[in-house]
Every structure is written in C-alpha cells, then in structure tokens.
Symmetry: C2
Subunit: 450 residues, 2 copies
Amino acid sequence: MADVAFAFGESIYGQKKLGGTMSIEEALAGFAIAPVTGAGAREMMRLSLFDWAACGIAGEAEPLAAILRAKALDEGGAGQASLIGGGKGPMRAAALVNGAVSHALDYDDTHFAHIGHPSVAVIPAALAMAEVKGAGLEDMIEAALIGAEGSVRVGLWLGRDHYQIGFHQTATAGAFGATLAAGRIAGLSQAAMVQALGLAATRASGLKSQFGTMGKPYNAGIAAETGIEAADLAGRGFTSSPVGLSGLQGFGQTHAGIAEEDALEGLGARWRMESVSHKFHACCHGLHATIEALRGLGPSGADVERVRIRTHPRWMTVCNQPAPDTGLGAKFSYAHVVAMVLAGVDTSAIANFSDEMARRPDLVALRGLVTVEADPRLSEMEARVAVTSKDGGLREGSYDLDAPMSLEVRGEKLRRKAEGLLGAARAKALWQAVRAPDLAPLTKLLQATS
Amino acid sequence: MADVAFAFGESIYGQKKLGGTMSIEEALAGFAIAPVTGAGAREMMRLSLFDWAACGIAGEAEPLAAILRAKALDEGGAGQASLIGGGKGPMRAAALVNGAVSHALDYDDTHFAHIGHPSVAVIPAALAMAEVKGAGLEDMIEAALIGAEGSVRVGLWLGRDHYQIGFHQTATAGAFGATLAAGRIAGLSQAAMVQALGLAATRASGLKSQFGTMGKPYNAGIAAETGIEAADLAGRGFTSSPVGLSGLQGFGQTHAGIAEEDALEGLGARWRMESVSHKFHACCHGLHATIEALRGLGPSGADVERVRIRTHPRWMTVCNQPAPDTGLGAKFSYAHVVAMVLAGVDTSAIANFSDEMARRPDLVALRGLVTVEADPRLSEMEARVAVTSKDGGLREGSYDLDAPMSLEVRGEKLRRKAEGLLGAARAKALWQAVRAPDLAPLTKLLQATS
C-alpha cells in the first residue's frame, strides 16, 4: 500500500488496525482539510457542478420541488443560502431542497464504482455552507470534490452488499461526503471533522425501496441536509462517537458494510471522481452505450432496413420494452431510443421522452426494425450496433461508456445537454458562472428558474 | 387473533398477507386517526408528559442544550413552537431541540418491552405540531399516546435483534411513533399517514454506538424531527413507498427487523403504554429495585451493621462499582446508592450524584457495610435486601419494578421526583399545567427554565 496518501487501519469495525495508525474517520478527516492536488479532478468537479446546476434548474419544474420549496419558505429563517427556484433559507433547508430538486429528473452524475450519485448529495451542502461562509467558487468546487471523492470512497468501503440489501448509497455514503464538504468550508479541525462524521453516522439514512416515488430524490436532500447539520454541530462543539462509521455497532457494521480494506487506497493522490459518469441521454443508463454507438454510425431512418443491437444480459430485463406507449416506458426501450436516433430526435432532451413521442407513428414504425440480443461477452457499459441499409450496406459500431473521454469533449457534450435542458442562453451563462471568481452568478441562475 | 382491533397481515416484508387485509402501515395509520378509548392509558400518558417536561426543564442546563438552542435560534424562522429553555422556532426545529434536551439527563420514561424511551421521541413532535395547529392539551396527550403506543408496537415488530445489532430503538421506532403523533394532530387521512410512515422509513436512524456522547440524546431529537418532517410533507402531498416499513427492502428488512407477527395484537384495545416505566432515581435502572426495597425497610445509617443485596446476575457487570469516586461512577454503584439511602440522601435528585457526594466520608464509610450477590432466581427487575442492625435485628425486604402501581401512587412519586428536579413551586405548576385545557401553561414552563 505504498500509494496511500493517508495511512489508515485495515480495521473491520474497530477490531484491528494496520500499524495502529489511523481510523477511517481520521483518514477521511485528514483528507478533507488538506490542500487539493489534482487539477484534472478539480476540472471534472467543475463539469459535474455545471451538470448538477443544469439538472437542478430543470428539475425545479417537478412537483416535489414546489412542495419542498413551499415548506422551506413556510418554515422561514435566516436567508443564508439560495434555494433552487427562488428565495433563500437557512443553509440546512437549502441543502435539503436543492439536493432533492437536483435529483428529481435522475439526470445527474453517477459513479459506478459504488453506484451512487455523488453531486446531488455533496454539492448542495458545499454550496450552502459556502454561501454562509462567503467562500469563493474555487473553494466551493474543491470542497465539493473532497466530498464527492469521500462519498465514493465511503461507498467502496461499505461495499456492494450495502447497496444490494436496500440502502440507497447516494444518500448513505452521500451523507458522509456532504459532511466532509460542508466541514471543509466551515473550517473544521481534523478532530471536529471526526465528530462531524460521527454525527453523520447516526443520521445517515435512505432506502432504495423509495425508488419510483418522491422519496428517491428526497433521499439525496436528506444526505445534503445531514452534511450541513453534522458540520454545523461539530463546529459548535457537539460530541459524538469518534468511530461512528467504523467502530463496533457503527454505521458500517449496522448497515451491511464489509469494511473494504482498500477503499481509501491512494486517497488524496488518486481521484476516483475522475471517472465519474454523466448522463447525456434522458433515459435509462443501460441504453446510453447503444445510443452512442448508433450515433457514431450516423444512419438516417429512411435508409435503414434493419438494426441489430447487442448488449449485456443484465439490461434485457431492465430496459428492453419493445413497444412502450408512455414517455416513462420509452426511457426503458432499446427499440424506441434507436428509433429516436434514426429519426434525428434529440435523446438528451427530457421533453422528448413524452407519451406523445412514444406513440409518434414514424418512431413506432422504426421500432419495428430493431432486434436486441444479449451478449455476455460485453461489459455492462458496452454495446454493439449493426445497421443494414436498404441498399444492402452494413455498418457496424460499438461504444464503451467506460472509455476515456477528454475534459474538452465531455464539456462540449455537457454543454449540449444543458442547452437541451435550459436553452442556449442559460446554458452559456451557466457555463460562465462555473468559471466566475465568486458564487453570485451561479446562485443567481439557480434562483431564477421560472 | 380475536383481539386485534386493526386486522393486519402477518406479512414478512410484504411477501405474505393474512387474509390480505391490511399492511402494518395501514393498520398503524388507521389506529392513528381513530378515537382513543382507554382512560387509564391516557392518564398514564399525562404522567409521562409531566415527567418528560420535568426532565426537559432540568436537562436544559446540560451543555448540549445550549448548543442545540443556539443553532436553532441562529437558523431562525417561524416562531411556531416553543423551545425548552426559551424562544420559539419552526416546529421541526423545536422537535429536534426538545427531543434531545429532554433526553439529556437520561431520566425520562422507558418501555422495557422494546427497550426504548417513548416520550422523548414522541412528545416533542406532538407538542410542536399541536402548537402550530392550535390543538388543546387533551388532543395533544391523545396524539402523544397514539405515537408512544405506536413506537412500542413498531419496536416489538422490529424485535430484539434490531436493538442488539446496534440500532437505538428510541430513535428508530421512535421516529415512526413521532410521525403518528404529529400526523394525527395535523389531521392526515389514513392514506396520507401511510405516506408519512414511508417518509419516516427512509429518514429514521440512530445508533447505540453514540451512547456516552451527545449523540445519544441527539438521536431522540432526530426521531422527533423526523416525525414532524414526515407528517408535514405527507400533508402537502409528498409521496413515498406505501410499504416503507414492511415492504421488500423496507425499513424492517434493511434494519434487522424480524417482523414479529403479534406486535400489533390488540392495537387500539389494549395499551402497552400502560406498562411504561418511570425512573424515580437518578441512577442506573439496575439499582432501582434495590433502592425501593431498602427504602421500604426504613433503616437509619447509624443503626446498621451490615447490608446484603441480592440482584439479577446481569447487573453485576453493569452497576456494581464498589468504591466510585465520581458522580458518574456513583450512578453505577450498589454500595453507594445503599449508603445514600441509609444516610437519608435523596436518590431522585440528580445533583446528589456529584463527585463531591461520591467522596463524602460518611457515605464512603457506609459503603463498607454493603455486600452484593448475584441471584439467578431473581428477574432483572427484582432485588432482595437484608439489613442487620447493630442490636442484632434483621430486616428483609424485596422489590419488583414490574409490580403494579396505581396511577395515584405513581403520580405522587413523579411529583416528588419533579420537586427534586425543579423545586416545589415549579413542580406544582407543572402538575397543574398538564391538567389545563390548553397548552399555554405547559409551554410557558418549558420556555422559562433559566
């Protein structure tokens, strides 16, 4: 483990320590207050911030946003931090509202290492605390990066069982990341950060069984709120368990954690957040590689005789609806998204996944040309596409979502996504806002959505 | 199951239903909005309210109270509900502060059926919502009773494993109880109450590994806050899983619940809250039977040659410190509490468990007369005491904390406890306040503690 920037114990629930050096809480806390070295990771976080804000502003039109904002405004309090959609509230309330609203469309970033959405839990906490403390944009981005990286690492430490048994990792691991982000901006000492993590451990929650209800985006809001609450209280001298995450009967042990010993390897030196994924299409992630592969071939609907898709077997039961007749169904249909691409319909625009679009006759006709096959040789992030033209030509393509993508290309794709969500003018203003010295251009855009 | 007022499924995580009648969520929701029939239970809840308020007012001097109140006042917002110690805040904030503050001394009521403190989670939620809705005292007490009963039933449904694995049942089961209490006063429909329970399911949290830190009382505050949040959001139309507690990957399945099928038996007809326990001595519950047995004998220190205690074996490693020299240690010492009783020192007064008292020479001398023996024939709630006098006389006594106690006797004991905590004048005013038609006398006392 030569590459461990912050040595930590290989303790499982506080039983053992490697060299007795550091608990995971101490390691995370040390990481959270140290200088950030990693320009690539910081720029990736800036792109995630851009994408997060675009999803949040667009998500403001969802019914849950109106409920949560009305509740926050009824409760009132100090106008510390901006609410997406207008107004200000206490930083805790802002974190809750913005976390939920930005996850409402389920279009925000994902990290596949632990299956979580890092930004929706972490950025709202970082941003709200930054507004309170008068921090600049770059400090906020660094804190968000620390928090997002921390949430992915905690997610890896908890392991896949935690997710499989039913915990919504976005919310649970996210709460610890949000705490690190908020605590960094609040200027917590390492010792206070450990206390904050202990408070997060006794507050963190969120169940996958809420999926399909407002409870799913709400979980992201809870995580962001917990980050603010834990950092705030720890800064005031509130005490908690110093091994709230890793100790006996701590969060890990009680929540099916496996205490993966390599989870923190390279912490502070290598950045898991450099491999975060962004959604460029407003549909199930299982369809994205297919869409990219097909777009690369560039066929037009009128010329196509047949389209053959090969994908990882797991997706066959997830997103292979042959003939959806609702917008929601269309989000889970190979045939339909292939038809959209062939017909030149923008798959990055949420509005295009409507009931009307699911029934559009030309798309329905094109769906009939598509066959989908499971191919166990492919990874979950790969797809292969073969298009036979009416003139007998054959074009084949493939795509791997895990393939490297330069920050420039990613940025361009995210800008096009944002244009679809917000229109060109607001997307451009947002692009500039995440490069401004202070937070005001960003918070102004977040507040002025209607 | 003829005695089930609200039929419910014997479903384990939504897999099976007895007669397909009702989920546990529907049963609890139906219970929560029905009329309360049970005068004895209501009067017991009135006593618990009295005791809760006395503990809360006394707890306001603890350091965590100042931190939480300062945070709530910094956050500000609508002055909807009273904060123990002064001021008002949004109902959510009041529930959090008052839940934590009232549990700060760990002197509040306990239900041994599921090992939880019902009142500290439920009453703050009921009270805060009652202040917002302008409910009268009797309606608030009924809601608190519903919530407390609900939390005990949910605790029984989760089962002992849930507690043993590390979940702080006061907080977890308590969150559901607080939701029922707040939801009843908010006037939720049965359907909305089910949604509120779903939101509580994805928010409920709290770990036993926080014991010994401010995190323990904070857990009670979290539960009360969750009750307000869940009821408020459900009332606004927020959606969640309708089987958030009992469904696949719901709270029960993910939190080591056993889905005990008899947990709701007799719900609405028989009241578990009629057997709630109150602490009458400011020390470990394992010492209480001994204190009561000894007090019944009435010996005076100067006459005593020797005191022999017999207790359940489990307590030998819990509260048998032979020679404590701190107030905290004295709370876990048979010898010391026996010395206090012999010397006429009030064991109900928290101030008497001080470092100074632990070292008082006459008490230290009396401690030397005490021997403690384990007796596996006794229950955990029993103790036997034998006092040998200097004149050779022998007096023997025993006590069982589980023995029935009339509401009158209990009330008198709680009044004496409150006098020790608050002084005679405030204790009397509080006794009257829990019999007033409206909440004002109670909230006035809660606010005016300093």
